[in-house]
Amino acid sequence: MPTKSIREEFVKGLWNENPVFRQLLGLCPTLAVTNAVINGFAMGIATAFVLIFSSLVISSIKKLIPSQVRIASYIIIIATFVTMADRFMAAFFPPISKSLGPYVPLIVVNCIILGRQEAFSSKNSVGRSLIDTLGMSSGFVLAMLILSSIREILGMGTFLGHQVMGAWFKPWIIMILPPGAFITLGILLAIALQIERKTKSRK
């Protein structure tokens, strides 16, 4: 495995291997809960928590897990952290937990998390895995913030509940409904790909 510097290991999650825009992973929560910035952010943080801690556990006990049952073991570890996150949110942030609903438990089947364990944490040291998942989590939170900001500003004229658009602005209700999610993400993916192509052709 080619060794990357710590900085590269972190930065790759932000853009080159951004889980949402470049790898198309974890699209279900990305589309479902980004109708308001606060929901998108909460989901991003909850996912980051599960990703980082399950990777810490898995990378530190990777030698103890027989490879035939590794997927099942990963899922149990991930499910444990998801249950913690779910209970924590229900206890301390009941309104957010209510509006995210069953999408918090769905973090278990978020392919970003299992994907990182299989591709990275099960082969690398604890420290490297920590840097890697920190980068990936930041990339995911970033993607959630971009998507939810666009949808909330255009869909309701607000940002985090504060009015940002003038009185002339008629909210595009469609943006906070399911079709808006698909179309916004489709356009964002095209923009991301175009930027990638431009930087490649310059080299």
Binding site: L24, L27, C28, L31, A32, I71, A72, I75, I76, A79, T80, V82, T83, D86, R87, G101, P102, P105, L106, V108, V109, N110, C111, L114, I174, L177, P178, P179, G180, A181, F182, I183, L185, G186, I187, L189, A190, I191, L193, Q194, R197
Partner: protein
């Protein structure tokens, strides 16, 4: 009558893909050809129906009587993973042609969030047994409908002149958005 409305709602109005955004990975990944999309849809419907029954039994006979409902997440995911494995072995023994058609899609289904969501939703909404089964079958058929329609559109898209950066996932998501828009029209069907 109410159960029929419930079924229609599960297939069309609360469509798993276009309303809840579930199963987006197979929806984008396996929707390039109509026949593979159909096989995937049927495999999902099949697993969903069984999952609905098994998770209901586990939730109502084991977890709730013992006040263990905080174990729902862990137990449902384990049930689904082992169920998919069992179904795969079973089909391989019973009907090799069916295995040929569905086989490669079955392992993928374990990580399909739609199945997990189905088990959670049925537990959350406290559906009774009959409702849970109808919910499972209806949601599976809704998924099949969405993925087959998508595959049909994408086969045509191959011949269209699409701007380079939109090719692949970009245009597929925009098409899905327009489909979701069309499916919103169904929401007036049931008050």
């Amino acid at each position: 009558m109410e159960l029929i409305a419930f079924f229609i709602a599960a297939v069309l109005i609360n469509n798993f893909v276009l309303h809840y955004f579930l199963g987006i990975c197979p929806f984008l990944g396996v929707s390039k050809k109509i026949d593979s999309a159909l096989s995937m849809g049927l495999a999902v419907t099949f697993v969903m129906s069984i999952t609905a029954v098994v998770s209901w039994v586990i939730n109502h006979w084991i977890l709730i009587p013992n006040k263990l409902d905080y174990l729902q997440i862990v137990s449902f995911i384990l049930v689904i993973a082992s169920l998919v494995q069992l179904v795969e072995m079973f089909i391989r023994k019973i009907s090799p042609p069916l295995y040929q058609a569905m086989g490669i899609y079955l392992p993928l289904i374990t990580t399909n969030c739609a199945i997990f969501f189905l088990a959670l939703m049925a537990a959350l909404k406290n559906y009774n047994f009959v409702e849970t089964v109808i919910f499972g079958v209806g949601s599976g058929l809704g998924f099949t409908l969405a993925i087959v329609l998508m595959a049909g559109i994408r086969e045509q898209l191959d011949m269209a002149d699409i701007p380079e950066p939109l090719k692949g996932a970009g245009i597929a998501l925009i098409v899905a958005g327009i489909m979701a828009l069309a499916f919103m029209g169904f929401s007036g069907m049931i008050k």
